[in-house]
Amino acid sequence: MKGYKKYYGQKIFWYFLTLIFAVILNFILPRLMPGNPVSALASKAVSGMTDSTAIQKVINDYAERFGINEPMYKQFFMWLGNALKGDFGVSFSQYPRPVSDIIAKAVWWTVCLQLPAIIVGWLLGNLLGAIAAYIKGVFDKAILPLFLFIGNIPAFGMATVLLFLFAIKLKIAPSSGGYGYDLIPSASWAFIKSIISHYQLPFWSIVLITIGGQAIGMRSMSIYELNADYVKYSRFLGIKDRKIVGYVFRNAMLPQITGLALSLGTMMGGALVAEMIFSYPGLGMTLLSAVNGQDYPLLSACTLIITIMVLIANLAVELLYGVIDPRVKANQMD
């Protein structure tokens, strides 16, 4: 138990450190963009006004409200203090909607799309890899290479192909949005059906590109493990093949779990592209509109929430790893 505590303690410490750096970068980078969005906002408010002192007053008022006159470090601590309270300020581009409100709406779309898609892709990939290693034949010679090919299509390419094929040519799936634009969110059947049909294309575009990469890794790990000494020994003790295959796949899975952690990070970025192409109302779309509107508070909050999500996912995977592989824990003991 002590070993676990130390292992988890260290992991959490390093992730916390990573988070701090991520938060600092998240704050600074958008603010280094050229242009002053507050004056753009203020100028909208003062359009039609002719009194220059009044205009100046409005601009000053806005600048004060958004705190852009303060030095950067002061802005940072103000922002951090508010962020800890869950207040990310007011969006510039969707003024006066608070950022936390926009994020809270968008984040669930993203989580519900990406997490199942990545996990389903990962599971299918591992299954395919394991089958290719164990049964061989058509799985190893045809299906795996096909998915490897598909897996190398970039996210935006895959999304565009699916969009063209299923939404435009075959017209069996809607082309954009999270639900029908003529519907009002409710717990009705029509709404749920609409959500599900809008879910398909972005979901499968992520799943399809995930399978190949995971399968090829699982295949070679499985082949390696199938030839391990413990397999031969277990056979000679009369243990059934089904059980041995269980041992093999558990051991072959270990590097794949690291692979999952890594792909969660990289795929987050790629999968956001799928959201943009399908105009899915998640973080990807929000991020896109924040960049277009030079909306720092929203931009910072978006990237921060993505960072936190990736960190949490990675941490969860690593903690799980400590439970699954006793060697990891044993190495951390000394």
Partner: protein, 347 residues
């Protein structure tokens, strides 16, 4: 004479390589091990010892293939049983195996006790987890292994401990025959001693009824086993009691092999260490005639033309050479100078 636990008659197996070439690694081996007895198998690396160990299990998977011969365990012929039946009824239950590389023989992500549960359940034995734990704890204690091992993973055990754990797991169902393939080779001397002591305990307490011990360390065999067989190029060249084999080997290869060791016994001071020239032949196309002829210091032209059969002499000893025992002993007494004509008849 005790009950015969393992009898092997003219067993032949081969490896099929990726290029579909046959390698006859075990080529006509016959042996008999009685209850309470152990047989050591010695030979150079590459002579087919480990393959023999695998072949004796009666369960074959690529690249090893069965050709012919009988394996009889306690009166039951297993060489003609269906592979699945062998696996379910015989392996681990009647014949147990200790692998050469016990370091990696245990699944790294499984606790020892879980593996023991799997072994027991694989043979259709109905026992609860608690019963298995109690049984394993008792057996481990008898063999001097700490109980904590059961709840550990393989990575948490030292090399020697891992090897002894593997031995304890292999014999958990009290098999009739234990086949140990170099169980002590990768260990330091202290761990080796513990392993050997454990094998002895297994025999004394009746957890195993007979044992085949394969090694390249001859002095070890002399101390551990009752009989010794010397293997060369997939065949036994000589078989006898440990004492006979160490002090009075007959076959030139056995002579050479035994000449290369020191046994802490009377009369060893006069012993001169000798080395064998050359390496064992490639078994893809073994030499015609006597397989040892190309390396044999006493070989004559007939040796490369005619393959010798296994012959019995003096109360159950066997050897495989064209020369008679009397002639061979004469040659050994005179040194290497004279090269007598081989006699094919038995003296």
């Amino acid at each position: 004479m005790g009950k015969v636990m393992l009898e092997v008659k003219d067993l032949k197996t081969k490896y099929v390589t990726r290029f579909h070439e046959d390698v006859y690694a075990v080529d006509g081996v016959s042996l008999k091990v009685e209850e309470g007895k152990s047989l050591g198998i010695a030979g150079e690396s590459g002579c087919g010892k480990s393959t023999l160990a695998l072949s004796l299990m009666g369960y074959y998977f690529a690249p090893l293939h069965y050709i012919s011969g009988d394996i009889i365990v306690d009166g039951q012929t297993i060489s003609n049983m269906k592979p699945d039946d062998v696996r379910r009824k015989i392996l681990g239950n009647e014949i147990a195996y200790i692998p050469q590389a016990a370091m990696n023989a245990l699944n790294p992500t499984q606790k020892i006790i879980r593996f023991i549960e799997d072994v027991i359940h694989a043979h259709g034995i109905k026992m609860t987890k608690k019963e298995i734990y109690d049984m394993a704890r008792e057996r481990f204690a008898e063999l001097g292994l700490p109980e904590e091992v059961l709840e550990k993973h393989a990575v948490e055990l030292s090399g020697g401990m891992k090897q002894r754990t593997v031995i304890a797991i292999s014999t958990i169902l009290s098999p009739k025959v234990l086949i140990a393939d170099e169980p002590s080779s990768a260990l330091d001397v202290t761990s080796q001693k513990m392993v050997i002591r454990m094998m002895r305990q297994l025999m004394e307490k009746g957890y195993i009824k007979s044992m085949i011990f394969i090694t390249h360390e001859l002095p070890l065999l002399y101390n551990v086993t009752d009989d010794i067989a010397v293997m060369y190029a997939g065949q036994f060249v000589e078989l006898g009691t440990a004492k006979e084999m160490v002090f009075d080997p007959v076959h030139p290869y056995a002579k050479g092999l035994m000449g290369s060791i020191i046994v802490p016994e009377e009369g060893m001071k006069a012993h001169e260490l000798t080395a064998l020239r050359g390496t064992p032949p490639n078994l893809k196309n073994p030499p015609k005639g006597c397989r040892f002829a190309p390396r044999c210091p006493y070989a004559v032209p007939t040796c490369t033309a005619m393959a010798p059969d296994e012959k019995e002499f003096e109360n159950g000893r066997c050897y495989r050479c064209l020369m008679s025992v009397r002639k061979l002993r004469e040659v050994y007494a005179n040194g290497n100078e004279s090269k007598p004509e081989p006699e094919t008849e038995f003296d």
